[in-house]
């Protein structure tokens, strides 16, 4: 188990290196540099600025310097915001994304799991068709349609919750963005749970449990629940990373100062270091959560043993 974890961790390093190299080359292959937009700058001063950020060096030197800095956890200075490092931008923005994403994931599980289980138990009745049809709608409607409608209903008309903004950790400011972010994931969780529950309920050992007279609620909770949750575990890995990276739209609509919006602004302003830093962070999160999902899978399912 420990050996498996270590080998997976070791395998993650080349993956991350490739992500770093790919994004680095892509950004530097793009036409135009970070200081091209400021046309008023005389060439001599521009050359000075570029020298300050080492942009005048050959590409391999810049790459080596960048790798060296990252290995000590330094993502470099932001080109766009003077006197601010990428580390500071991430440190300020990321907790907001993590908080909203965590709340969204929790909400998706709390709403999606019961719906999926009920649909599986009442298979091919309206208890199944209606929620599953709604789930399909949840998958089909983009977040940026759901979010303004939520704002219109709960903030503008009912005045229950604020329409956006960020005032530190305040539940009333988290609910709406988290709900909007969670909507498609509720649908995914419910569909996945229904599918695996139906499969588990058809297996012989459930028939056995019923035959020996185990009451139905116990059959579900004690016998069917755990194996039915297995596919969900492997879904949660990529989903967690997806929720955190997918919050760009939510941040824009609710006016949250997260890193998603900073990333898009950075890309528009050719802020190489910020874009690279955030891309690497996202890549690391994806690798980490996939690893976490695989390890918990092996802990939960006795049939899966990694060497």
């Amino acid at each position: 188990m420990i050996r498996y974890t270590l080998s997976r961790l070791a395998g993650a390093i080349p993956t991350l290196l490739i992500i770093i190299t790919l994004s680095f080359l892509l950004l530097h292959a793009a036409p135009g540099g970070p200081f091209d937009a400021q046309k008023q700058i005389p060439p001599a001063i521009k050359a000075n600025i570029e020298r300050m950020y080492h942009l005048d060096e050959p590409l391999y030197k810049q790459y080596a310097r960048y790798l060296w800095n990252i290995s000590s956890g330094d993502f470099g200075p932001s080109y766009q915001y003077r006197e601010t490092s990428v580390n500071e931008i991430i440190r300020e923005g990321f907790p907001i994304d993590a908080l909203i994403g965590g709340a969204a994931l929790l909400g998706a599980l709390l709403i999606g799991l019961p719906i999926g289980i009920i649909a599986a138990l009442r298979r091919n009745t309206y208890w199944d068709y209606l929620p599953m049809g709604l789930a399909m709608i949840g998958i089909s409607i983009p977040v940026f349609v759901v979010a303004p409608i939520l704002i219109l209903v709960f903030a503008v008309n009912l005045h229950w919750l604020p329409a956006g903004g960020w005032v530190g950790i305040s539940p009333s400011h988290i609910i709406l963005p988290a709900l909007a972010l969670a909507a498609p994931y509720v649908a995914y969780v419910a569909r996945l749970m229904r599918g695996s529950m139906v499969e588990v309920l058809n297996s012989p050992y459930i028939l056995m449990a019923r035959a020996k007279g185990v009451p139905e609620p116990l059959v579900i909770l004690r016998h069917a629940m755990k194996p039915a949750l297995m596919p969900l575990v492997s879904f949660l890995g990529p989903a967690t990373a997806g929720i955190i990276t997918g919050s760009i739209v939510i941040e824009t609509i609710f006016g949250l100062p997260g890193i998603g919006r900073a990333f898009v602004d950075g890309a528009l302003n050719r802020d190489y270091t910020l874009v690279l830093g955030v891309t690497i962070l996202y890549g690391a999160l994806i690798v980490f959560f996939n690893l976490l999902a695989d390890i918990s899978y092996s802990l939960l399912d006795p049939r899966v043993r990694y060497e």
């Binding site: 992500i19 994004s23 892509l26 292959a29 709608i137 983009p142 739209v249 890309a267 890549g283």
Partner: protein, 303 residues
């Protein structure tokens, strides 16, 4: 050379005398089963109607998608002048713009899906068929690409290399082929061990012929399923890019552009959001249902 088999045939009793049931091909069987799925049939019909309207309406309408009418700004849906969906904030007919949006969104979905299917099928089939070290290297590459943050990458591509329609197709297609490659490889591996492939090899059919005549037709079912499910995800992704201002550029439009424009004026002119949002959701919904229906009839595991 052909004498011996001919004689063997003659000795068999006439086949026509036995009243065998008419054989049905996999596809005829799948079609028949799909027809029994009412949701899938309804989805297909609705999708057909939308596609038909998207082609016909901009063609016969007296309005176009780009000429402003300054006297008719933000007109709610009305029979007056045939603006049945109303007009937008520049007085342009919303019906025509929504239909153009459907055209562009479906077109992007289709092209990006074709790109991803072509790359995915070739990559997966090659890895599965060749096997060995080539297979493990190719699949390791897919594993690594799975860890590449998809959304940031497309944003970088689009921002850095300009915002033309063609690039959006390629960018989305180039990052969404991974699923198809994995599935096709798995199918190819399991098909490669089947008896009929063995038989083809034994009777001297060449490698490329086996791929074209025996592997590809058997992969087609699974590819059709995933292609149907890739189109809606691409449409949603284009909408997402358009929302960030990185997708289709004005005055050309897409459902994503219309929805994000409408969302900003939700309080005063809700129809500007709801009408395109309904079309977007309908297209995605129908394609998802159709994909699910196709999976039920074409995926051997679902039998």
């Amino acid at each position: 050379m052909s004498a011996a088999p001919n004689q063997a045939v003659v000795s068999i009793p006439p086949v026509a005398a036995i009243s065998a049931p008419a054989g049905r091909s996999l596809w005829a069987d799948a079609m028949a089963r799909l027809m029994q799925n009412r949701f899938a049939v309804a989805s297909a019909i609705l999708l057909g109607v939308i596609v038909f309207a998207a082609i016909i309406v901009p063609w016969i309408s007296p309005y176009n998608y780009y000429t402003p009418q300054w006297a008719l700004l933000d007109l709610p849906p009305t029979w007056h002048g045939g603006h049945i969906f109303g007009t937008d904030d520049l007085g342009r007919d919303l019906l025509v713009r929504v239909m153009w949006g459907c055209r562009i969104s479906l077109f992007i979905g289709l092209i990006a899906t074709i790109v991803s299917v072509v790359i995915g099928v070739l990559w997966g089939a090659a890895a599965g068929f060749v096997g060995g070290h080539v297979d493990s290297v190719m699949m390791r590459i897919v594993d690594i690409l799975y860890s590449v943050p998809f959304i940031p990458f497309v944003i970088i591509l689009v921002v850095m290399f300009g915002r033309d329609l063609f690039l959006i197709f390629v960018a989305i297609g180039a990052v969404s082929w991974l699923d198809i490659a994995r599935i096709v490889r798995g199918q190819t591996l399991s098909l490669g061990n089947k008896e009929f492939i063995e038989a083809a090899r034994a009777s001297g059919v060449s490698g490329p012929s086996i791929v074209v005549r025996h592997l590809v037709p058997n992969l087609l079912g699974i590819v059709v399923i995933y292609a149907t499910l890739t189109v809606p995800s691409v449409i949603l992704f284009e909408a997402f890019l358009s929302f960030l201002g990185l997708g289709v550029q004005a005055p050309m439009t897409s459902l994503g552009v219309l929805v994000s424009d409408g969302a900003s004026e939700l309080q005063s002119y809700p129809y500007l959001l709801f009408i395109p949002a309904v079309f977007l959701a309908l297209i995605v919904y129908c394609l998802n249902y159709l994909g699910d229906g196709l999976r039920d009839v074409l995926d051997p595991k679902e039998r």
